[in-house]
Amino acid sequence: MEELQTREIDRIKTLLNAAFHGGSWHGPSVLENVKDIKPKTAGNRQKGIHTIAELVYHMTTWRIFVLKKIQGEAEFDIRTEKQNWGNLKEIDEFEWETLQMELTLSHDELMSSLEDKDDNFLLEIVPGSEYDFYTLLHGIINHDLYHNGQIGILKKMAPKSSKFDDDDEMKSSRYFNDGFDDEY
């Protein structure tokens, strides 16, 4: 049984970690969804939709946004398409590994930047905006899960590139291979 943490900031940190690593109420976390995706699937372009690789880049970008705001950078903003979605070309093993590593790194940095914060911090206005850090932190969780839902479907849409990929995928994605019936 889980005891609810006393400080609100700690509760939000728990939610942030759960949405990213696992243990969320709603179902699969970002990493649970992303970990078994192959480079070919990550780079697969469906008409009118960003690729999984671009979505991962985008999630990292907005984590960095939160981080910069916590560090007090009022001027920091994400303005161009390139800043928002990257300028990704071919997604090979190396590129895909890098994107995932940057995502995890940005999460770790975000978590450590919250280490010395208390509940008063949640009421502070985000530099350069009109909303508070409570809104921003819940916002980034919702943002993660919104794009995570997209990734969940996009990975099913990608054509299987070879027999080998197929077998491999069956093995590694057993937990979710019956569709999207998340636990709740």
Partner: protein, 154 residues
């Protein structure tokens, strides 16, 4: 009556449902701009149609309401309980599906408004987690499924 934190949760629940959420599109923004011909479309890569997901979002609001009402045994186990019966998830029934979801949302908000922060630390009857986890989870559940709806719609 202290409702500092519950008020913020109600606000998040409402924003993700009605609009102006930090992360992007809300449930109603999607519903209002979706062409009717896509709502019951079956795609080979998705187990569920948009109609089914809308049913699902309403069903879990009902779950929360039942739990707040003290219904220990209430649960959504079968596919039909979770994603609706064949008759419920047709294009013809779309207006009713949307209405059901809206009604459940409204009932949930007004029920929560009658409670206070003490609710958040309580365990959900028949479950091993608190209402804090359930309510924040319900909001995240919305955004997760909104992402799916977006891809199904494209």
């Amino acid at each position: 009556m202290n409702r500092k934190e519950l008020d913020k949760i109600i606000d998040n629940l409402d924003t993700v449902f009605r609009g102006d959420a930090w992360h992007g599109p809300s449930v109603m923004e999607f519903i209002n701009s979706m062409p009717l011909n896509v709502v019951d479309e079956r795609k080979e890569y998705s187990k569920y149609s948009i109609c089914q997901i809308i049913y699902h979002l309403g069903a879990w609001r009902r779950f929360v309401l039942e739990k707040i009402g003290g219904n220990i045994r209430y649960d959504l186990v079968s596919e039909e309980e979770n994603y609706g019966t064949e008759e419920a998830i047709t294009k013809q029934n779309w207006p009713n599906l949307v209405e059901q979801l809206r009604a459940n949302q409204e009932e949930l908000i007004s029920t929560l408004e009658s409670l206070d922060d003490d609710l958040l630390v309580k365990l959900v009857p028949g479950q091993d987690y608190t209402y804090y986890k359930l309510l924040t989870g319900l909001i995240q559940h919305d955004t997760y499924h909104l992402g799916m709806i977006w891809v199904l719609w494209e």
